[in-house]
Amino acid sequence: MASHAHSSHDHGHGEPHPLVGHLVPYSTLFATGAALIVLTIITVAARYVDLGEANIYLAIGIAVVKATLVSLFFMHLRWDRPFNLMVLVGSMLFVVLMMVFCMMDVGQNMPTENKGNPAKVQQYLDANAPFAPVTAKK
């Protein structure tokens, strides 16, 4: 509880302090909200700028920054017990692990597309969705 007593020193401001948890100042909350809205506008604007491959990485990067802001300030992880942060980051690491191994596998696949669609898909579409285009325009 040492950190608890300490944090009440920092953010108490003479207001009634909760029995449990951490009190986040209004200024922090509204600044976080404003930053999230600004980043949303930036990411929408970035869509219309052609950066080639970098577009998706920029979009994901901004999303990661926004997610960090939400989890640190809205979800109190900045002041929470570190174990809660470990639970969140740990789950995300496992998602990244699954993503990396799946993409390694997909990257090794030989092309199996026939007339634009995989064979079975094409046969199914021919029978059930005869209006599906067969190949892409060059």
């Binding site: 029995l19 009190l23 909350l29 970035a46 869509r47 809205f74 059930n128 969705a129 599906a132 285009p133």
Partner: protein, 321 residues
């Protein structure tokens, strides 16, 4: 507040191991919400919070698997994603992003209101959060219904014509096939298009086997697009996708993953409406105060995760250059 002194006592008491049992008893007498298997309110709160985080970790893994599915589909057909993204409404998606961010903000302010015993502000914040969640779903409803109206669906429904005009343009006379197992039809020999039906195909009367009208290379001609342009432009400037010669194959996959991911997210928003609504009613009855506000805090965590997922969904679906 008078309790600030007493809770300092409880904290020091919980750490005095010599008088542990006695002080724990004192906490239970002091705090009616403290369950008998917890020693202090702080232990109860932190345990509940850890449980909530464990649940949120499963949520991350739940959505994570779908993000992996998204990555695989996009890796295999990048042109599908850059093409189909134009059918999503960036303005509505952006508004929905802001709605969710603002409702996350009101939720965080609501937690602070509960912590500082401002019961009126807490109810107002919960109501605003609730309205944000409902507003998100209403906007999503308009997006979905517009797309379904245009047959921008998952699976084969994506390839069904929308209007009679479009059907007339795209359709040719269906040719009945006696033995679908082995039948090989070549309805458009000049184009060299071949249609093969195999055994597992369900017997559908309406389809039989028809030639892909979309032309020799499966491509609608510019003339066809022009011909049906006018009737489709009643409300929207979008091309009917079946007549769009630029549509890459497998475009239906984009909408499959779009509906799966945004739909699952929408279900989470719907659950959020229920839980936040319950919190709102409970707050009107004065159930929460600066000592006991754990449900507000934990539902807030859930609501922020719903916001987090949308923060990733929005650029991945709506903002593809």
């Amino acid at each position: 507040m008078s309790h600030s002194a007493s809770h300092a006592d409880s904290h020091s008491g919980s750490h005095g191991h010599d008088a542990h049992g006695h002080d724990a008893h004192g906490d239970h007498a002091k705090y009616p919400f403290l369950a008998h298997h917890f020693d202090t309110p702080n232990q109860q709160f932190e345990s509940g919070k850890l449980g909530m985080w464990a649940f949120l970790a499963t949520e991350v893994l739940f959505f994570g698997a779908l993000f992996v599915m998204y990555a695989i589909l996009r890796f295999k057909d990048p042109q599908v994603f850059s093409y189909a993204s134009q059918y999503l409404d960036t303005i509505l998606g952006g508004i929905n992003t802001c709605v969710l961010i603002l409702s996350s903000l009101t939720m965080a302010v609501g937690v602070r209101a509960a912590q500082t015993n401002k019961k009126g502000l807490l109810s107002v914040c919960l109501f605003l959060t609730l309205m944000g969640a409902v507003g998100f779903l209403v906007i999503k409803y308009f997006e979905y219904s517009h797309k379904l109206h245009l047959n921008l669906k998952w699976g084969e429904g994506f390839y069904h014509p929308v209007t009679a005009e479009e059907a007339a343009e795209v359709k040719v006379e269906p040719k009945p096939v006696e033995n679908p197992v082995l039948a090989i039809a070549s309805p458009n020999p000049s184009a060299g298009a071949q249609t093969v039906a195999l055994a597992p195909v369900p017997p559908v009367d309406k389809t039989a086997i028809a030639a892909p009208k979309t032309g020799p290379d499966g491509v609608a001609t510019a003339k066809m697009v022009e011909a049906t342009d006018a009737p489709m432009h009643v409300e929207h400037s979008e091309e009917p996708h079946l007549l769009d010669s630029n549509m890459p194959p497998n475009t239906h996959r984009f909408f499959a993953i779009y509906y799966i991911m945004t739909g699952l997210h929408g279900i989470h928003v719907l659950i959020g409406v229920g839980v936040i609504g319950w919190l709102f009613l409970a707050s009107l009855k004065g159930r929460f105060n600066s000592d006991y506000y754990a449900p507000v805090d934990f539902v807030g965590l859930y609501w922020h995760v719903v916001d987090l997922v949308w923060i990733f969904l929005f650029p991945l679906f709506y903002l593809i250059h």
